[in-house]
Symmetry: C2
Amino acid sequence: MKLFDQARDMLAQAAETSGIDLSAASLVVGVSGGPDSLALLAVLGQLLTPEQLIVAHLDHGLRPESAAEALSVEAMAQGLRFHSERVDVAQVAQAAHLSLEEAARVARYDFLARVARREGAPVIVTGHHAGDQAETVLMHLLRGSGLAGLRGMRPAARLPGHPDLWLWRPLLSLGRAVLSAYCVEHDLRPLHDASNNDPAFFRNRLRHELLPALESYSPQIRQRLTHLAEIVAADEALLEDRTARAWDDIYLDGDAAHSALRLDEWRALPLGLRRRTLRRAIAALRPDLRDVGFRALEAARLVAERGATGAQAALPGGLALSVGYGRLLVASAAHDPAAGLPQLPTATARPLPVPGAVDLAGGWRITAERVTVDFAAIAGNRDPWTAYLAPEMAQLVVRGRMPGEHIRPLGLQGETKIKEVMIDRKLPAAARALWPVIATAAHPVWLPSLLLDERARVHPDDTDVIRLRCLPPDRT
Amino acid sequence: MKLFDQARDMLAQAAETSGIDLSAASLVVGVSGGPDSLALLAVLGQLLTPEQLIVAHLDHGLRPESAAEALSVEAMAQGLRFHSERVDVAQVAQAAHLSLEEAARVARYDFLARVARREGAPVIVTGHHAGDQAETVLMHLLRGSGLAGLRGMRPAARLPGHPDLWLWRPLLSLGRAVLSAYCVEHDLRPLHDASNNDPAFFRNRLRHELLPALESYSPQIRQRLTHLAEIVAADEALLEDRTARAWDDIYLDGDAAHSALRLDEWRALPLGLRRRTLRRAIAALRPDLRDVGFRALEAARLVAERGATGAQAALPGGLALSVGYGRLLVASAAHDPAAGLPQLPTATARPLPVPGAVDLAGGWRITAERVTVDFAAIAGNRDPWTAYLAPEMAQLVVRGRMPGEHIRPLGLQGETKIKEVMIDRKLPAAARALWPVIATAAHPVWLPSLLLDERARVHPDDTDVIRLRCLPPDRT
């Protein structure tokens, strides 16, 4: 009775995880008619009352005998409520550009969820077993996945897309052989589903070709994969908890179109949390995006870690990441890329008196003043939004860059185009034309957050110098 | 120059991780003469001075041409310090019961560590690349491993067994093809190692058979495995940090022979941390034990979670886990299993007056007193070290169990052998004979922490009752 005991324990655990009273709840049992679902139904029949059990069978319409099979399952479900439906999975697959397997999966869970809703049942139960779990883990490995994929299926989880329904898999730690033996022993007569041998299905190729090949390298490979799933499930729970706490610490604001994080605090997180919070920011905006590739995420992470204000990186799902003033922003790529950046109202030059100020768009400001600061403090300035100029740079204007205008980067030999500096520092194209340039009549002196001109350099014997600041709306 | 740039960045990162000054340190470079190590040596030659580089080549003595190859590598190392040694790896393998591959690995790192020590170099550098990494991850998957194995090789880590030496792998994110192309471009002439094609080596079968087979399921499998390693490395760092903090919270005491954890606090940890702290307790006593199997650990975990005081479970490496009084003990199986448990000095009966006390061995005590406690509190008692007896049970003794003695478990029908109760509750055999039995002249009434006898049951209308307590040394 190993199977019965284990299934009962797993069911009790699932009920506890879900906060559901096992003695009162209705359960929708997905029954294909194969050995797994028959054994499941038999075990549930011993543990629950007939009133609690609802049998659901989806006829995928993929094989001529499937309609007859639906009738057989109805007969097996005698004495229990029974729901059946026929779906043309091939048509669903074609219409939704899915593989047959994926379309069948989607149609099946959609059907089970509809039955659960119609019956007011909070739980769907399926007969997935350890063999299915090993295949699932292997599939995630092959397709590329972080840890979340390696944990495979879970014994109790909310049904994706239906947060009010639970999905339980009480046979998940039991092997296929144990289930078949149980059927023989209890005189259950499973249907034989010919599509389980069809090599057109990716899962069948794993089951019948790849896993046997892997067994020649590691005879215990199936157990190793299911054990890995168990280890990862618990470790992933720890990591999700840690990520949730980090998220609370760094989250600034957000809505359906953007998530903004505290830049400095994000940059101070350990690597694993920098990755996980980025994934979470993406998931907050695109909850249905299933695969966020490693390379795209890493490229964006590097921009987020090292990029200057305005730097941008593309993300999957039509999203973009951008570095703002103290903010790390994940937003729809259609989101105004110049939002949150200093922009001129027009490119026309306006004088910047010293002391004095010039207003930019959206509440940003450029301020100028004379200050007495020691040279070491100036040389040690790491704030890209503050610049110190030699005292003679008094006749200043604020304007847009000129076509083909050059600047002489402080501390370097020679000149470079302002446009190229902007491209190099990954300023979004839309933000470049109205990016403020502070200039004398003769040449530019400062591109806020980007570059100071060599000709404005403070010398060690300068006593009072000019301090420029570019201040965001909430600092003015 | 993608290879050069990446190798330089990884080297800088490795130096930072290790706290080593790259402009001054000596590096021992493991050079087989293959394309990986030649490209590595060429890159290092551009970044460091010849005085910093020490070339080390181990002749594994497995092929007739290996002696001539050692001379070729010496020629490649011209201008640099060079160390070479011949080891009969086949003999090492036989003597140490290792596979040829494992023996070669052990001999190689032992040699590199000796060279590093002789030269006063803090770092060993090897040419492992992304292809090696994919194979390593796959190998760990096949052999079964938790997350730590899936992170594969690390770009900078302490050399196992030599905590004062660092092992750097600056080419770890570069593909094999990039390295070969680099050799062609820079006119480097690698040696061809015929054993790289020998299917007797497990790694070669992975490289030439299994990985190509996996590519037919997932063309990007090598990259996926190396990406997985990168993800897992960062996640594992988070988990290790979390585990270290949990360990500090639950650690009671320990030495080379045992680690003791706070039982209740350990039981309150999330599953992932219960597993990880158990692994850590094992590693503290058996640092060289590489593979702690999942099943053995899970069986021990269940005993630790649910076992009564005295319950024991075997662990790998000749260790055992046991549940003590408020303690979870991991210790050598040779460790006295009765230590920390209540034991009689002899099995002879001694009277237990009410009120009064009887001393056990090692500072434990049994106390008896009359108390007025309401029946609900008695029925709700969850402390297995406290028992309430009906008031008429006044003539008590404390003694060892008698041969074949039976007890009537409270609340159950019928009798059971005391010996079987002890086996069932997993008391170590050595602790059973002297486990205290509190009894009247006619029958046993209490086995501390295990069982109360039906005949001693308190009735709802009893007013003052007898309270027995079994107290550990630090409570008396």
